[in-house]
């Protein structure tokens, strides 16, 4: 690692992104099956055994579609927004540790700040897409998306402060190590960690534009929101970015609040994967259970409940760190 950092970072990225994209693609299959069972229908069955090849078929379809940029759109911003959206989601994984030891692409001492700062850039491609489309639905979606993303950014940052305070480090690896032997921040100290964990998950849903906070898309009121004018692979990139964002947020939650690779028996990647994917499946469950909040409702939820409560968790965590 220390000898060839470029090779290590790049190679890690190549393997990790391939795996994550595979997981995200097949999680769409899983979600459709899951949603199907919840609604008493079979889900995809036609392509391959139990519809397992559906993601491949979808990918082929998306990649073959004609790529149209509307004449009225700002073509540069319009075309740069989808890859930028995916990049802001993927870039944050550069500091994420996967197993004890050196299994991290870049072991930055400000790791969590790096992830948060790259993650908060996600507002920009979304807004870019909505504005550049020159479409009223897209603009409405983008306006609401920007308002939502910057609002939920505040409680998201504050909840991330709880593990930072309790572990006394910005390094992702240190935060996980501080929870060794079952001292997960979601459980111990009692209170602030658990509340912050729930808030973190909800804010991540809002940042990833998932139900119950999928305001930017809101297909029943805004046609398809920011993705109205996008087709083929450009739409596919937005779709993929949304799933990747949710997946990555689940793993971040698992590392920051649920002890990462710590678990009964030998520690390792298997515990992290188990926790991350469980949270991920939980988010699907939320998606197919709850309705979308109205634009004014989520603003009220964020500024009147999430912000003061997350400040409270930070206060309690700080007192715990100093006096306990």
């Amino acid at each position: 690692m220390t000898e060839y950092p470029w090779l290590w970072g790049g190679g890690f990225a190549l393997v990790l992104i391939t795996v994550l994209m595979g997981v995200a693609a097949w999680s769409i299959w899983f979600e459709r099956k899951f949603a199907g069972r919840m609604q008493n229908r079979p889900g995809p069955t036609q392509v391959g055994p139990a519809g397992l090849l559906q993601p491949l078929a979808d990918l082929l379809k998306l990649i073959q579609k004609e790529d149209i940029t509307p004449t009225n759109a700002d073509s540069f911003l319009f075309n740069i927004a989808p890859p930028l959206g995916l990049l802001t989601v993927l870039g944050g994984m550069a500091v994420y540790p996967w197993a004890p030891g050196d299994w991290v692409p870049a072991n930055l001492n400000i790791g969590i700040l790096f992830t948060l700062s790259i993650g908060s850039l996600v507002t920009i491609p979304v807004w870019m897409a909505g504005w550049a489309s020159n479409n009223k639905y897209a603009l409405l979606g983008a306006m609401r998306a920007a308002a939502q993303a910057v609002s939920f950014e505040v409680p998201l940052l504050l909840t991330c402060l709880v593990p930072i305070i309790l572990s006394g480090s910005f390094r992702m690896g240190d935060i996980v190590e501080a929870q060794a032997d079952g001292h997960w921040f979601a459980l111990w100290p009692p209170g602030p960690g658990a509340v912050a964990f729930v808030l973190f998950l909800l804010c991540s849903l809002a940042e990833a534009n998932r139900i119950p906070f999928d305001i930017p898309e809101a297909e029943s009121e805004l046609v398809a929101g920011i993705t109205t004018e996008y087709m083929g692979m450009k739409f596919g990139l937005f779709y993929l970015a949304e799933y990747m964002h949710t997946l990555i947020a689940s793993f971040m939650g698992a590392s920051m609040f649920l002890g990462g690779w710590d678990g009964p028996g030998p520690d390792g990647l298997h515990w992290l994967v188990l926790k991350g994917l469980t949270l991920y499946a939980g988010i699907f469950w939320i998606r197919w259970t709850f309705l979308r909040y109205r634009a004014d409702q989520f603003m009220a939820i964020c500024w009147r409940i999430f912000v003061p409560v997350s400040l409270l968790t930070v206060t309690v965590a700080a007192f715990w760190r100093v006096y306990a």
Partner: protein, 121 residues
């Protein structure tokens, strides 16, 4: 550049290549229409021809939200280094200092709530 930052940069670069490469693949494999009626490339507006441009002035309530965001985001930027220095030794003073800072901010937050800046009307 330290090796850790080189690795992080390499990671981000590969991510960028993957993101752009997917689009390039779609460019190569995508079908191209032989005939292009002029209405085809218009923006979507329920099948009608779009009425004017969508680049218009917008409701100012979004400005208030952005303002609130800047206030609280800068606050978080101040809290971050503070959080790192918290500890059993000398932590009490730090708590008092941050309590004063956040207290002032919460007063502002309360004022914004009373003024209705956080309700969408």
């Amino acid at each position: 550049m330290s090796p850790q930052w080189s690795a992080a940069l390499a990671f981000v670069l590969v991510a960028a290549v993957v993101a752009v490469g997917t689009l390039m693949a779609a460019r190569v494999f995508g079908v191209k229409a032989r005939s292009k009626p002029p209405s085809r490339d218009l923006t979507y507006e329920c099948g009608e021809e779009p009425e004017g441009s969508a680049w218009v002035r917008f409701h100012p309530r979004y400005y208030v939200v952005a303002l609130m965001f800047v206030v609280f985001d800068v606050e978080t930027a101040f809290i971050l280094p503070w959080a790192l220095n918290l500890g059993p030794r000398g932590g009490g003073l730090l708590l008092v200092e941050m309590g004063l800072f956040v207290g002032v901010l919460l007063l502002g937050w309360g004022y914004a709530v009373r003024k209705g800046a956080l309700t969408w009307q």
